[in-house]
């Protein structure tokens, strides 16, 4: 198996390293701008190849992030199951690297063959970076060999092995960033002479284009969630096919770990998405408007459905999982309320901005837009509910975390260093909010093209940040008085009121009178919410320090529907990656390089959502089929990786 893997990897490496040379040989024929892909439509062909390549790219980045994180947890907790799980997934990487590289080679050839003029332009700017890309792939593959093949022999030097795993992730992340620079440059080109269209900037300017950093962050977090959910999907299938209780317990635990890891990526993902969207708007107002209020506004409704599915699915899985936790019955009654509010939030998120109505419908509604519901389609309403969804998911996770735990050691009886950490975190949270409140109060309206009198609208968000600071202080005191649970409740409540309700409604006022300031309102909401996640988690850690477990976890007793939920969220995230790829690429409309190099091919029109759904579904099925093949090929979870029964009494649902 290992020799075969090496051979496949070497072929892949040759393809990647040879690509730039072959690319040079494939210089476009003068006068020939576009070709077809073996007689097939060039746009659909390139779309399929690029998207499946990107999905594999996400996989080979997401899986090592997941694997090394799990390995670290195993190392720290001394629980061998984590180590085995990390190994199982690392096994997949050899084949996945080969698939990724082969698809990358095919994509390169197809791009140069089908869109020579465009690639001539892009390689004219990035050709040095392209060699770097190939070199990085070489480094990544080499690091992978050492990391994978020396897994057992470095068992006694786990720290060093983990460093290799981290290095593997560093190379993977840098490779992603390099590829992102090209994709981002196509959307927000810089360093060009506007008159002649010639590139006059530096390569670094081109790499560090305005959308590069937000795209990197968004994709990185997306890949973290992706890795976890792929793990969850795999575990679910194994769970459903398990023959023994031991196997079921193992794959139940694996599914839980995958879902937990995915939630860590999912929770901050909407913020990264907002940041990316904001920068898209800053790079081009036309592109930004087209994204949320134009041709893609309905595509974002589909995106909301998928993200809704992800959050509700992950929460649902957590809630089902509470039945296997002794002590969870104390909290299950709250779940239905969380569920109702979550569904309401998604209903608001799904409300479209533009709703085409017939004449009869308009008469029935009383105008082109419903007098009340039309507001829910606007950005302010959506921002508010996204914040609430994340806060509720966080609350849901807190309930899950404490489900199996009794009361911990009272804070007043904990060592002095606990107070130092508590006030250290409080200080940090306060400092960040105070800094932003100050910057809001000193913000010059002219910098947003607003008149001087609009400065009064900057006061409320700043005041809410100050209220949050006061809430941090009050809840810190409550925690000192051993009232940690009350402190958490107070802070979550204040956050919900400030970030969701007050700023949610205030956003509409701002949209009407000082629209450019709305982004600052969104940042304020984000800061308040992040402060809640950091601060309440900190209190939680001390609240349950040394808390006894209320019983043994019943791993392997999850109902079948829970496993289908895991498979569904796995499919949702692959669909979401496909959909976001469509949006990112489609936003350029009929431009290869936005506003610089026009696409005059037959495929320069923007596909509708029906076509998008078909192509993305094809990508999803091909990708998941290929991944299943890899699982089968590498024999993950086979005899070699079988582990001891995971229902050891010392295991805690709380990640240690």
């Amino acid at each position: 198996m290992k020799k075969r893997m090496i051979r496949v990897l070497l072929v892949a490496l040759v393809v990647v390293l040879a690509a730039p040379l072959l690319v040079a040989a494939a210089a476009p024929t003068v006068g020939e701008t576009y070709r077809t892909f073996l007689g097939f439509d060039s746009r659909i062909s390139i779309w399929l190849i690029a998207e499946i390549h990107l999905m594999f790219g996400a996989f080979v980045l997401g899986v090592p992030i997941f694997a090394v994180t799990i390995e670290i947890i195993g190392w720290k907790t001394k629980d061998p199951r984590y180590d085995r799980l990390a190994y199982e997934f690392t096994q997949l990487l050899g084949g996945a690297f080969s698939f990724t590289a082969l698809l990358g080679g095919l994509l390169t050839f197809a791009l140069f063959g089908l869109f020579p003029k465009f690639m001539e332009f892009l390689s004219g700017i990035f050709h040095d970076v392209m060699y770097l890309y190939a070199g990085l792939f070489f480094l990544e593959s080499t690091t992978f060999y050492i990391y994978y093949y020396f897994w057992d022999s470095m068992a006694n030097r786990k720290g060093l092995h983990i460093v290799l795993g981290i290095l593997l992730n560093v190379w993977g992340t840098v490779i992603m960033m390099v590829a992102n620079s090209w994709a981002a440059y196509m959307m927000s080109p810089v360093g060009l002479d506007k008159e002649t269209g010639q590139f006059v900037g530096t390569v670094w300017q081109a790499v560090n284009n305005p959308l590069w950093t937000p795209l990197n962050i968004h994709r990185f977090l997306g890949n973290v969630a992706f890795g976890g959910l792929i793990c969850g999907g795999y575990a679910a299938i194994r769970y459903l096919g398990a023959k023994t209780q031991e196997e079921r317990a193992h794959y139940d635990w694996m599914g839980y770990v995958g879902n937990f890891s995915a939630m860590c990526g999912l929770i901050p993902l909407p913020f990264a998405g907002y940041y990316l969207g904001r920068e898209v708007y800053s790079a081009s107002a036309v592109m930004g408007n087209n994204m949320m209020g134009g041709a893609f506004s309905w595509t974002f409704i589909i995106q909301a459905i998928l993200i809704g599915g992800l959050f509700i699915g992950s929460n649902y899985y957590l809630w089902i999982g509470m039945h296997r936790i002794p002590g969870a019955e104390r909290y299950t009654r709250y779940i239905k309320f969380i569920e109702v509010v979550l569904l309401l939030c998604f209903a608001i998120w799904l409300t479209p901005h533009n709703l085409p109505l017939s004449a009869e419908e308009q008469i029935a509604v009383g105008g082109q837009y419903h007098p009340t519901l039309k507001y829910l389609g606007l950005m302010s309403g959506k921002n508010a509910v996204v914040n609430l969804i994340i806060l509720l998911t966080f609350a849901s996770f807190l309930l899950y975390r404490r489900a199996n735990l009794g009361d911990g050691v009272a804070f007043s009886q904990q060592p002095a260093k606990s107070r130092v950490v508590l006030f250290g975190v409080a200080g940090l949270v306060i400092l960040i909010m105070a800094w932003y409140a100050k910057s809001l109060l000193s913000l010059d309206p002219a910098s947003l093209d607003l008149s001087g009198e609009t400065a009064k609208y900057f006061v409320l968000p700043a005041a809410l940040l100050i209220i949050q600071i006061a809430a941090v202080l009050v809840t810190a005191i409550l925690t000192l008085w051993n009232r940690g649970k009350l402190a958490q409740l107070v802070y979550v409540g204040v956050t919900a009121v400030d970030a969701t309700f007050i700023l949610g409604v205030y956003g509409y006022v701002i949209m009407a009178v000082a629209n450019p300031f709305l982004r600052n309102v969104a940042v304020t909401q984000w800061l308040i919410l992040m402060s809640a996640i950091i601060w309440v988690t900190t209190i939680d850690v001390f609240l349950f320090k040394g808390a006894p477990q209320l019983g043994e976890m019943s791993w392997g007793k999850m109902p079948v529907r829970s496993q289908y939920t895991l498979i569904a969220v796995c499919v949702f995230i692959v669909m979401l990656i496909g959909l976001m790829g469509f949006i990112r690429s489609g936003l350029r409309e009929d431009w290869h390089i936005y506003a610089i190099l026009q696409d005059s091919s037959e495929g320069s029109w923007t596909p509708d959502n029906a076509l998008m759904a078909k192509v993305v579904s094809a990508c999803v099925l091909i990708f998941l089929g290929a991944i299943s093949f890899l699982f089968w090929l590498t024999g993950a979870g086979g005899k070699k990786t079988e582990t001891a029964a995971p229902s050891s009494p010392e295991f805690s649902v709380t990640p240690k």
Binding site: L240, G241, N289, M612, S628
Partner: protein, 333 residues
Amino acid sequence: MQSAFLKATVFTVGLCAIYIYIGEVITEISGGAKTAATAAGVSPEAGEAIFWGKGKCHTCHSLGSRGSAIRGPNLGVDGARFPLPIGLRAEERAKEMSQKSGKPITAADYLVQTHHDPGAYVVEGYKNEMPAAWKAPIKLKPEEVLAVDLYLQSQGGEPKVEALASSQYYIQMKKAAESQKGAPAETFRPYLKGDPEKGKALFFDPESKAPCAKCHMVGDQGGKVGPELTNVSGTRDLPYVIESILEPSAQIASGFEPFLIVTKDGEFVNGVKKAEDDQSVTLADNEGQQRKVPKAKIEKMVQQKKSIMPDNFRELLTMEEFHDLLAYLETLK
């Protein structure tokens, strides 16, 4: 294990099917596939199509209660802040700008300038971020910008294409757009490569969404209500053919003018005149049916400006179907 994998596969395929269904439904309700092309020519109607379509104006501007965008000023009547529609507001603004600059600026100048140089006048409370629509990435042709201006002028004002076209800003824009091209305008080409066979099937199938053969003859097949199309692409260029499909009333072929007959019984008969003698007039309707009306029964006969050819192919046909039909017509040389 195999059974679990199979079940998971069926489940995944089912999810993909639901996803495709959602894509179809959303496309249907948003009218995504039914935007075959925009109206042609310089007219308020063409301007309206561009405003709500390829010009992307609607992504920032509402027009009274139409649209929900608020990033840019509402161009219709909107409460106390915008009591006048843009056609009338332009006159107020032109006066204001004339007073400030000391130079005569007309309402037409103001409207054209908002697209030629959007930063020249920024409405209080809004960011100076409007792109020049004739430049990349929107890159409307100067004539398309003119159509939008005409549409805006028609909002409360009287649309005057001459006033807009003679504005110094329009002349500057046109000159700059020409120099940007650096080459003669590209030959018009369709958005998609259609399938002529599918187009032919549409054309001749009486049950299709575009049963053109009911009225138009190709070779020895089809009706004779409308012009014969056997050599249409040999004698007409593609933009003309597109306009004839999407805007049949824009130019009515000579000899195919529609007439309306009002009989003494109060009946209305509409159609293309196919024959006339001392005794009667024969009209053919858009279903290909002919009706002979005795002259003695005719109260009034008036020539119509609106073609009897259906003008809703934009809504009826998908982008693909429209281009299939076009591909077939292109073969008729």
